[in-house]
Assembly symmetry: C2
Homo-oligomer: 482 residues x 2
């Protein structure tokens, strides 16, 4: 049932009232909240997975892995709190010998305030109610209001019940967490005065609309959107010669994984013209069994796009059916020339959410590089090369187009780690931050400096004796705790 | 002369062409560029100060200090490069024992690309052509295009000549740095496809207009604006009793410093009702000698605002002349009640750029806290209290309103330091970053992760042997170089 405007106001006001209580909570308290949520979700995994399987048509193994990833992520942020570097605690002692004399300055990162989270369709757990945005915001002490995704409503409502119960039992303030439902509620949420930042995973059109609302507020707020990504892959001639069939199998597995409903799906693959790689990919395709997509809307959009592809004079259907069954999808391999892609990049490089990929035939490095320059920003870019290929220039070019550059792998699969980067130039994301990995928390923090503060009024992170035992930068030098 | 659209395109295209060359430059090379600019500016300090004095009417001591601050800032960013932590180098080695197995992931921050800098009126050096935005962007390897401020055009053009010559002599690529001129050029610059981020210091109206342009691009870019700030100060009854005359002298000095043309000027001071502090401030005012403001436009805006204040039934003119001389300004002290401010916060708490401050009389903690909640975000918030005042709640409240909280001091004066925070909730800034201090560089970096990269293709910061000898987080643990 869509959240009424009045109910949404109550929820947002409760988040605003809770914000100072969360900001005051100790790191140990916040760790206890995250750990409690993780434990309770694990305890209810079977129930949640059964619900999600019904709603999303994703298989049990995938959903089981996703719950594990989600609870592992919550525990990862708990470890981040323990580590303490996320506070970026910095102390510059007063100096009388500078001109002008320098006061005592102490800086740390504090929670930005209530965060709106817009859940994704394709990850009912890891990018949803208790996913990375929620975990990273709660970790740094921000109340969270999640706009759930209608594609897995019951899973979301049940997850929220479990999260709320866990937070309550672990002593988190009332108002720390809530969900809202419906498109209108989302529109109101991102504009609500109580909300101080937003995280979003979804389509370019939906994300852009919300970004525009966030930016046009009387008081603009940061909107961290992960939107669209075609994830270019480049395969060199030598790589095809070396291991063409293996690469073809890898590609077939990656672009059809989860029926191609991943933001890191390899959507465009640059292959050497005339090397026969297209045929290898077609041969490597699994038997075309129709798979039900996440929602009927996603399935009909995919079917429509494939039908349009069929009538596009610049596209060739190398494998798969242009006419898709209702509600389901079978893999499609499209082909185009590099010259055509340079001519119409917007049309030919459009992202297809579903099991389709486009093979772009290039003729030599210049043809390849010129075409790559026409590609928009992506979450990932991948190179498959032979050991003695000189790819330095190619890698430099791909680095301008993506947030993660992969070698001899496939972009699907995004490890939750300190060194993960899930973000990239527009339209991949709207930000210079990541939405996966520990540094995602930085999106929901803002700096605060205390000047000449009495010791009793300093937060623990900035007290002289370092009671939290965390890394700090003191008088310009980064120092680790003993 | 305003930059023509064609000339601006040439400049922006040159910056875009230079970007990969700057990105590839070593830290030592970038240090040499910054140091060369600092040295050459210092060598030309007398000439620059003479020009700026003519154009801005700021006095020699102030301008001399500002040049020193500007070149010190350039050298500070050079030291930051040497330190290396700004790269946030992070390595997670491959692990076969996780489910799924984790690839080798290595992350660092890279330059975001060409940066547009919009210079401020009130700092002809430190927030202008070679100021903090320019220094922090060049430091991390971003080409810079500065839209100069018309208030000190000749100073800007001459500074740019010196910067360009220094960069050229130190080997920086052509296209690393340029200036443009005129309002239209600024509008075109922030929308230019080559520009990847913008820094701005100026008015709320100008900053908001440029922010809106940056956000409504087909590919939105981060716009780091430092806009408006009234910098609330709270004085407790016990503080007035303890040291009223001293505080009054401090306030009079701070709000009239540089004729009140600082973004950190204390624009509103909450004083206990009936404690006689207003009279102390009036008595502490210097003799009302008219001072020429930065530009005729600033002076006429200030005169108009004071004239409006005189006719506002909620404002009292406690000292100074409501009618200002043409082009100049004399200090004005305004008074209002806390109740009136709560009723009309937008009107009564408007920022006045010039030597004016508003004393708001409050009656007890509840009256004070309720009124403070109506105050918008600021760069700073200040408390003057006695040693045994219980101000914990007050400090928590002020921390939600500002990026820097000061105790027993005055907000004018912003040290360039690691722990500085020059930014705060809207409308103080549009960002979760600072525009002063070493961490300002983070605004112009974006993360890039290498997955399973061959060692030969890794940047030095991510090579196993740590050739740059910088702090890195390895397998989750922050480590300092030996």
């Amino acid at each position: 049932m869509p959240t009424t405007p009045e109910h949404l106001d109550t929820i947002a006001d409760a988040a605003e009232a809770a914000a100072p209580l969360l900001a005051r909570a100790s790191g140990d308290e916040r760790r206890a909240w995250l750990d409690a949520v993780a434990d309770r979700l694990d305890a209810h995994a079977d129930e949640l997975i059964a619900l999600a399987a019904e709603e999303t048509h994703l298989d049990d193994a995938r959903l089981r892995g996703e719950v594990a990833r989600t609870t592992g992520q919550l525990r990862g942020f708990s470890d981040m709190i323990q580590d303490g570097a996320y506070l970026e605690a910095t102390i510059d002692h007063a100096r009388a010998d500078t001109a002008p004399p320098r006061p005592d300055l102490r800086r740390l990162l504090i929670p930005i305030g209530p965060v709106a989270v817009f859940a994704a369709s394709n990850f009912p757990f890891a990018f949803s109610v208790a996913g990375g945005d929620t975990a990273s915001a709660l970790a740094v002490g921000c109340p969270v209001v999640v706009k759930i995704h209608e594609g897995h409503r019951r899973t979301s409502v049940r997850t929220a019940e479990i999260v709320s119960a866990a937070l309550r039992a672990a002593g988190a303030p009332e108002g720390s967490f809530a969900i809202v439902e419906g498109r209108e509620a989302g529109v109101r949420l991102v504009q609500h005065p109580a909300i101080r930042a937003a995280g979003f995973t979804g389509s370019v059109s939906g994300g852009r609309a919300l970004f525009d609302l966030a930016s046009s507020r009387p008081d603009p707020i940061p909107f961290y959107g992960e939107l669209g990504s075609i994830n270019p892959v480049v395969i060199t001639p030598a790589a095809v010669a070396d291991k063409g069939p293996e690469l073809a199998r890898g590609l077939a597995g990656s672009f059809t994984l989860g029926s191609g409903q991943f933001c890191t799906k390899p959507g465009v693959v640059f292959v050497p013209a005339g090397a026969g790689f297209e045929e290898l990919v077609v041969a490597a395709l699994p038997a075309p069994e129709p798979a039900t997509l996440l929602t009927p809307r996603i399935a009909s959009a995919f079917a429509e796009e494939m039908s349009e592809a069929q009538s596009d004079p610049d596209l060739e259907i190398l494998a798969g059916a242009a006419t898709q069954e209702s509600g389901a999808a079978t893999p499609v391999v499209l082909g185009a020339s590099a010259a055509a892609v340079r001519e119409r990049p917007g049309a030919l490089l459009a992202e297809h959410f579903g099991p389709a990929t486009l093979l772009v035939a290039y003729d030599g490095d210049e043809d390849l590089h010129r075409t790559l320059r026409a590609v928009e920003g992506s979450l990932t870019a991948t190179v498959h090369a032979a050991a003695d290929d000189d790819i330095a220039e190619l890698v430099a070019l791909l680095s301008t187009k993506a947030g993660r550059v992969l070698f001899d792998g496939w972009p699907t699969g995004v490890a939750v780690a300190w060194s993960q980067q899930h973000g990239g130039p527009w339209p991949a994301t709207t930000s210079i931050h990541t939405s996966v990995g520990m540094t995602a928390a930085r999106r929901f923090q803002r700096p605060l400096t205390f000047q000449d503060a009495p010791a009793a009024l300093l937060p623990d992170a900035l007290r002289e004796e370092n009671p939290l035992s965390i890394p700090r930068r003191i008088d310009g030098r980064l120092q680790l705790p003993h």
